[in-house]
Amino acid sequence: MANHAPKTRIIKVFRYDPAVGGPGHFDRFELKTDDESLTTILDVLIRLQKTQDLSLAFRYACRVSMCGSCGMVINGREALACKTILADLKGEEVTIRPLNHFPVVKDLVVDMEPFFRKYEEGLTYFHAARERSEPAIIRPDSRERRVIESSTECIACGCCVSSCTMANWHKDYLGPAALNRVFTLLADSRDGLHEERLARSLGSCYHCRTELNCTEVCPKEISATRAIKYIQRLAAKEVLKPGSTVRSDLRELMPPQSTAPAALTPEPEDLLPAVPPPTLASRREFLSRTTLGIAALTIVFLGGVLAATALAPTLRKRPEKWVDVGQAEDFPAGSVKTAQIRYPVKDGFYESTVSKPVFVSHQENPDQFTVFNSRCTHLGCMLHWDDGKNLFICDCHGGQFKPDGVVKAGPPPRSMDRYLTMVQDGHLFVQEA
């Protein structure tokens, strides 16, 4: 085993006395430890309390990373005190403060009430889809269990919420822990509150900015980011499903050209569960409580999508350039082909290469090339060309475009976007903004 020499550290601990009030302050302690490799931050706090300040307050229960009571911010990063080894912390000083976003009760102890309230708002509890007398037969290698994985092992320590910069930015944001549980229930085929739960998380799941802080700090190595992305994908798909209760509320809010898709093909994404429809009873039980919420949240959801679309062009500040698509003769008259274009871009200090597909449609007129952007004009999913149907098809929501890029069916609000083209020295070029 490791034998380390005794070492003295400066430990700065946030102090707040509810009897005094005010903004709180940091106290500076010196602590000599015989072997830092055998000492957790929880041990440090227990020793400081015992030997230097009997009034020091912190929270713990199991001391083996199973209860999630001792989450705090250690040297600027959320962690469980019982799982953080002193020897692993670099530098002379260690700074310990309470979790962000929660009211402080005393010193390092925070009021977790907002955490549990958010949790509850997400309907984060199992509600059986139907009465069973025996446990459901679900194979461990089934898609739903592979998707859920170990995400049900959350111990509700609040580290993710503290690390999230969006958690206190939007009043209606459920935050990573609650959304992680929402995700595991949405993916669970035994659960019967699918649509109600999805409606609850709609206004919420788009507030995530994919900073991955929650994923980095989670002591159980669960990725709430992955969970939230799953809900976003599911939400986008579910909102437009015919017969969906979510959709029926949405219908009035949708732009007039958004009609129901003729057919729904499943998303090729691997993260899609087979979800049974909720029972009538469970729907009735919750619809009364959730209808208002659904309406409010869907407005937020739509507003967010529309805002992003409107903002998108103004964010493009790169100079225009002509990009080679390939030899013109490779695109014979009367055909539609997919080509890959590649070009370098520089964003500040960051250089990268863009590589993306475009559709080249060569009409009967020999010199008439039309090159389409491969993104659907609805929500930006990738289109593909279907030779048999002679249509461009979007798998997300069933949007269809004719060979000239005009909408044939589905929710897309306008024709496909086109590039400016030119032919020079036998090569086809498109202008990329």
Binding site: M1, A2, A57, V109, A136, S150, T152, E153, D188, R190
Partner: protein, 571 residues
């Protein structure tokens, strides 16, 4: 003082408390239910810390009779057979409800049915589990179910004492303290359930979380409830030693020895050759713990006062792959379980004894119920791995149904005795008024060391007699404690530690007195001066009540062998 009046008061929020709340509510959603928990909601208690799993008969090749036989054999035949029978029979519907109503998802066989693994002392592979974190799955899911229902949770509130009517025969609620604010309040209830769990943290090495302080058994004893089997305290053989750390005592699971790990003393000997040359390290928990303890006492202890567990010969890859949780726990402290010996010691683990209950969880007092580790009799002299969480869940469920049934008859919510409340509250505030006196933290260390050396794994009449006197001396000092420098009452951890001492002391009284009375070795109770199990001596249980001087009054009674006799079990 603030008062809350409710139909049902539940003290604790582990498996037993939660299942009781859910079952009482589902039986009658009009019942007002209040849960008082010392920790944050769902975060306290030992159910959450369960690694192994839940013993239950699900397979048609298995039977309740087999499970009962294993349980009685493990308990060395002094179990309450009625309670053990209900445990094994009701475990089956309980685990099914966990899955179908509360949303737990336990590990599966490749065909999608619920997986059951082998565990020590079982004649059939019947342990349902979720990896090696079964408790997290159970408690996370049931806590959500509590949230779903209209059940009031008072978190970080500690029940201090049960309140009785003037006759002392009827419990009318509890005096509590809000830990965050430091204020007292009273809950008056038509029915009260004590389900705080045990957690013998009154020893040098202990496995439960330090937040567990035997509160339930302490308050039951002080209220005059009849208790049983208090000498039966299980030591788990392999608690990790981390010198000076609060993590010390946390368990390395039994599966390691099952897989072939050795136990070595300071001379590098596999000392089990001396104690159980047939089963060696695969012997039962009680034999393993006492063998290690005897080696330590004989001066053959290793570097940190314990013994070494060696798994390296199993192959580093095998250990890392099959025991990832244990490997990681050791690695956190620089121990390499896969390649080197790891220092371990037996650690106080589980109280088999507790309040006398019937299968509907009634205690000896009116309006008062108990379930889980606070109740005694289910496990006899030794608990099987996997029967602990089963006990909590099954008897929590029994208690919930039983209380709902009990309240079908109009009973009204009684009034607590104001004088009793004032008297108790004044006592709990006394140390704030003193300016000199001992520190509760020092006294707690003293009690832990004393219990370890005098009322621990190997007991003698001499040491137990001494212990009984030392406990009274420590109690006198505890009454002189001062709390200067600990701040106000709000979230005052040292004040809470002092309060815990009364419960630890009362349980120490019960254990030492009962242990002195049992002049034989049986299950977890090992007497150096009576090293043999003596069946001629007769199978008996030790019952006790608190006497007027605060010390237990004991009574030995023969075991009722209602369903199986030891001969049936052996054959």
């Amino acid at each position: 003082m603030k008062k809350i009046r409710t139909d049902i008061l539940i003290i604790g929020m582990g498996g037993a408390a939660q299942l009781a709340a859910l079952n009482a509510f589902d039986a009658n959603p009009d019942l007002n239910i209040v849960i008082v928990t010392k920790a944050l909601q769902g975060k306290g208690g030992c159910s959450r810390m369960v690694q192994g799993g839940f013993n239950v008969v699900l397979n048609s090749a298995d039977s309740h009779e087999k499970h009962l036989r294993d349980t009685l054999k493990g308990g060395q035949y002094i179990n309450n057979q009625e309670l053990a029978k209900t445990l094994v029979e009701q475990a089956t519907p309980t685990i099914k409800e966990m899955e179908t109503r509360y949303g737990c998802f336990f590990d599966r066989y490749p065909d999608g049915t619920v997986h059951q693994k082998p565990f020590a002392g079982q004649s059939f592979d019947r342990t349902v589990h979720k990896g090696d974190l079964t408790g997290i799955e159970i408690i996370s899911r049931t806590t959500e179910q509590i949230m779903k229902r209209d059940i009031r949770i008072l978190e970080e509130c500690r029940a201090l004492d049960l309140l009785a009517d003037t006759t002392g025969r009827e419990i009318v609620g509890a005096l509590c303290v809000d830990i965050k604010q430091g204020d007292f309040f009273v809950v008056e209830a038509a029915a009260t359930l004590v389900a705080t769990g045990g957690g013998p943290t009154s020893y040098r090495f202990f496995a439960p979380g330090p937040e567990k302080t035997l509160d339930g058994m302490g308050m039951l004893y002080r209220a005059g409830v009849r208790m049983v089997d208090m000498e039966m305290l299980q030591f788990h053989p392999t608690g990790l030693i981390v010198p000076g750390s609060v993590v010390a005592g946390s368990l390395l699971e039994e599966g390691l020895r099952g897989a072939g790990a050795y136990m070595l003393n300071s001379l590098g000997e596999r000392y089990m050759q001396r104690y159980d040359p047939v089963k060696m390290e695969r012997t039962t928990r009680d034999v393993m713990s006492r063998s290690s303890f005897l080696e330590m006492m004989a001066g053959r202890d290793c570097e940190h006062g314990g013994v070494d567990m060696m798994a390296a010969h199993l192959g580093a890859e095998f250990v890392e792959k099959n025991f990832p949780g244990m490997y990681t726990r050791c690695k956190l402290f620089g121990y390499d379980l896969a390649r080197k010996p790891v220092p371990v010691s037996p650690a106080a683990h589980f109280m088999m004894g507790g309040a006398v209950i019937d299968t509907a969880c009634h205690t000896s007092l009116e309006r008062l119920f108990a379930a889980g580790e606070d109740a005694g009799g289910v496990h006899g002299a030794n608990r099987l791995g996997g029967n602990g969480i089963a006990d909590s869940c099954v008897y929590g469920r029994q208690a919930g149904k039983s209380m709902a049934q009990y309240l079908k008859q109009e009973r009204g919510i009684p009034q607590a005795d104001e004088r009793q409340i004032e008297h108790l509250a004044a006592n709990y505030l006394a140390p704030f008024a003193r300016t000199s006196g001992p520190s509760p933290l020092t006294l707690r260390d003293e009690l832990r060391e004393m219990n370890w050396t005098h009322v621990g794994i190997a007991r003698t009449e001499e040491k137990l007699q001494q212990a009984i006197d030392i406990i009274e001396k420590i109690h006198e000092e505890v009454l002189m404690v001062q709390l200067t420098g600990t701040g106000g009452r709000a979230y005052n951890m040292v004040w809470q530690d002092w309060i815990a001492l009364f419960n630890m002391l009362d349980v120490s009284r019960m254990i030492s007195a009962s242990a002195l009375q049992r002049q034989e070795t049986r299950g977890a109770h090992f007497r150096l001066d009576y090293p043999k199990q003596d069946d001629r001596y007769g199978l008996f249980n030790i019952f006790l009540n608190r006497g007027a001087n605060g010390k237990p009054i004991l009574e030995k009674r023969p075991v009722a062998l209602k369903y199986m006799r030891p001969t049936d079990v052996v054959n």
